[in-house]
Chain length 454, copies 2
């Protein structure tokens, strides 16, 4: 990468039919298509047309029925991410395919196998967003009474990730020889059995899929808590994170990049991509109108429910036009701790009511909301990119497909004109495009480290 | 279906690069493409060109390293079936997509969700082949010391299937109303929370995917043991089974069909499709030559290993040109019991050596092998179909893509000429084509059963 100009990396975070909680009520949104392949095909091909590095899918293993009215007012059904991305791999050629899969209620063998398979079928475009499950409703779908404590979830996630990357290295890259004459399909000396026995998992291996095309699918993480940052510094290649202000984002960026050296990693081995919720207008007025319309369309119960979920505290008993009630201390929260602090601070700083706070976060959910003309949007992305706050952005369109199409048709050309974004894909794999090194197989690394015997 | 002529149902069982253990050494086989999407796309589109009801994928969650030489001589790496079928759903329009997923090391919520997602994305073409895991190597990949006993595996499978079908009914078919004006996305009265608490699983639900397009994806089963037959009679819609002789197949067909009435089901609610391994030549001599070539190409260790796996007994210490050793009693076998008996009887009946037995089963692995010209193949299928032994067949091509192309280009037209097979797909879903009823939602069924109040 030396000599080449550093450019912005872009993810298209496809929460259908849009990130805004009222997206499905937005006039042009095809709300009834949230389970239709045609809709997702169009979105993925639009992202590819815009030269996005990847499409990115969140995940949830439950419907949160705690707020019954909200269930009627929000979109609770979507395709499972790996199923969907596998289908999309067949109708795209370049764009990366990033799926969120939780380490809390899965088995590492299944996860290693599915991502390795997707990486092969897509020609090296798979990425795994490694998360832990903080939603108590998920536990009840997996024969557990309650979800794991925050610290235990990270402990399990750490070991889970070790097992998965170990399984991806079951075979060396050149293990398969296909020698028909001598009846040798595989060179057995290049097969490595994991034999993992740990605190959470015993997994013998080997994996019944060849080493992925990318070596390992790209590993993404989102946690911004202390254990989350440490796990990311050791293992993540992309961090998807949520910051409201430039200062916070810069602080986080430096903090995480500074942790890399102790794990033998360089700053460019990890791309930091904050979430961005863009409201794009051809004029500033049009952007304001779009925002106002989205806010008007928020059903009240859905707004309160969204906020309650984000701070892991039930706000439904409190007056919606009053202030936040006294909230528990941070160490009592067994959910997303960073998000809790962020929203609590925001409400206090600006003196917001419950309604005002949910209106504020009903799109971006704590991520950075930017608004304006294509040039104004590009200005704001450029500022963070050039001032040490971001290597790229995970774009969260308010409504779909329009919000993504606007970004691709209006903002991407502006970024390209400024030389901040690619005009063609750099390579054939997601790693190539993100500028990430392909991991060398552990056994090859060990052999290369030996003094030469010749 | 009344008045219409009963026709053969066909599955294309795509074990790549062919069912024969020596398939990868066969001259035209692209052995290096076993992980390439291009290869599978060609196979699925060939099956669709041949108007097959479905493509069918087996599964294994381990490499069986017990016989190390065999690992070097056989194909041990393939894409995970659901990942692959999801990708294939995007490049096909009519053919059904059947994936094997074990109930032994999975969670019902994940399985319900993935198949429901695939059913939506494919427009109603998903099928689940429900199996239990009999391979001890699989247990060790899922933090278990040994696999479950045969009877416990079926007990778990039974409850697993109940949970999955219950989750598929989380929403009624018309639960989603997309009413933008009144802010009603879903009619909550049509949401049903499962609240399952059983011996093996506690799963609250509801599922975060709408009711599948087919109501439920088609349920396939393969077990032919007593608990397997009973589970199938209660729940299966297709049985994939292995029989060598017409008499055995007829006996099984009658046995299972007779069990349906006690569960309130009709004979046409369950399609019985034995596996068929066809060696097709333009002349009988060409078919003989193909068979002889395949037998010559079997690597010895791979042959012994295959046979050992099939009978759950290690034959590697015994002389390959001698007879089978004394084998354990059936109740000592914690693997596929039906297959054990079938192969033991075959060896005794014909006095086969270990080598002769593995040559005999190296393609079909206990399924019926048929050989000859297209007309001779069609004769043999027709005989079983018209004499109460089969509703259709799961076709197991010896090598790929050639073995499937020969069936589509040579045998299908012959079956169509005889009026035994469709010339166009009957409907848009797999159920339509198989002639299976769409299951009515449990809650709707209950409401319809009430006396009318008007």
């Amino acid at each position: 990468m030396s000599g080449e100009k550093r450019q912005i990396k872009l993810g298209a975070f496809l929460m259908t039919p849009g990130h805004h909680v009222a997206a499905w009520r937005y006039p042009d949104t095809a709300a009834s298509e949230v389970l239709s392949f045609r809709f997702y095909k169009k979105l993925a091909q639009t992202a590819e047309r815009g030269k996005f590095d990847m499409v990115f899918l969140a995940d949830s293993n439950a419907i949160y029925e705690k707020y019954p009215e909200a269930v009627a007012q929000t979109v609770t059904v979507r395709p499972e991410p790996l199923t969907l991305l596998s289908a999309l791999s067949a109708v795209t050629e370049h764009v990366g395919l990033a799926a969120t899969v939780s380490t809390t209620y899965n088995e590492p063998f299944h996860v290693a196998r599915k991502f390795a398979s997707l990486d092969h079928l897509s020609g090296g475009r798979a990425a795994w967003n490694v998360v832990t499950s903080a939603n108590p409703a998920e536990a009840q779908n997996f024969s557990k009474d309650q979800h794991l404590l925050h610290s235990l979830r990270y402990d399990r996630a750490d070991e889970f990730l070790n097992v998965v990357t170990g399984l991806w290295d079951s075979w060396e890259d050149d293990a398969f020889v296909f020698d028909k004459d001598n009846a040798v399909f595989a060179d057995r000396s290049k097969l490595h059995t994991l034999n993992h026995k740990g605190k959470w998992f015993s997994v013998k291996g080997p994996l019944n899929v060849a080493r992925p095309i990318q070596g390992h699918p790209v590993v993404i993480q989102a946690g911004s808590s202390e254990p989350g940052k440490e796990l990311a510094a050791r293992t993540a290649e992309v961090i998807f994170t949520a910051w409201q202000t430039l200062e916070e984002a810069q602080l986080f960026y430096r903090d995480v990049k500074d942790r890399l050296a102790k794990y033998g990693r360089s700053p460019e081995d990890l791309k930091i991509m904050p979430g961005i919720f863009p409201i794009i207008g051809r004029t500033a007025e049009e952007a304001d109108e779009k925002q106002a319309l989205l806010e008007r369309l928020i059903p009240q119960e859905a707004g309160v429910s969204l906020l309650s979920n984000l701070i892991s505290f039930d706000l439904s008993p409190y007056p919606v036009d009053g202030p936040l009630p006294d909230l528990p201390e941070l160490d009592q929260i067994n959910g997303g701790k960073t998000r809790f602090t962020l929203l609590k601070d925001l409400a206090e700083r600006e003196g917001l009511t419950i309604r005002q706070l949910y209106q504020r976060i009903a799109g971006a959910r704590g991520h950075r909301e930017i608004k304006g003309t294509p040039a104004q949007i590009a200005d704001q992305l450029e500022e963070w990119f050039v001032s040490g706050a971001a290597d790229g952005f995970n774009i969260m369109p308010p409504y779909l497909p329009g919000g993504l199409e606007d970004f691709v048709d209006l903002v991407v050309p502006e970024l390209q004109r400024r030389g901040l974004f690619r005009t063609e894909y750099e390579g054939s794999t997601l790693r190539d495009n993100l500028g990430l090194k392909r991991p060398v197989h552990a056994a090859v690394q060990a052999r290369n480290a030996l003094p030469s015997s010749s």
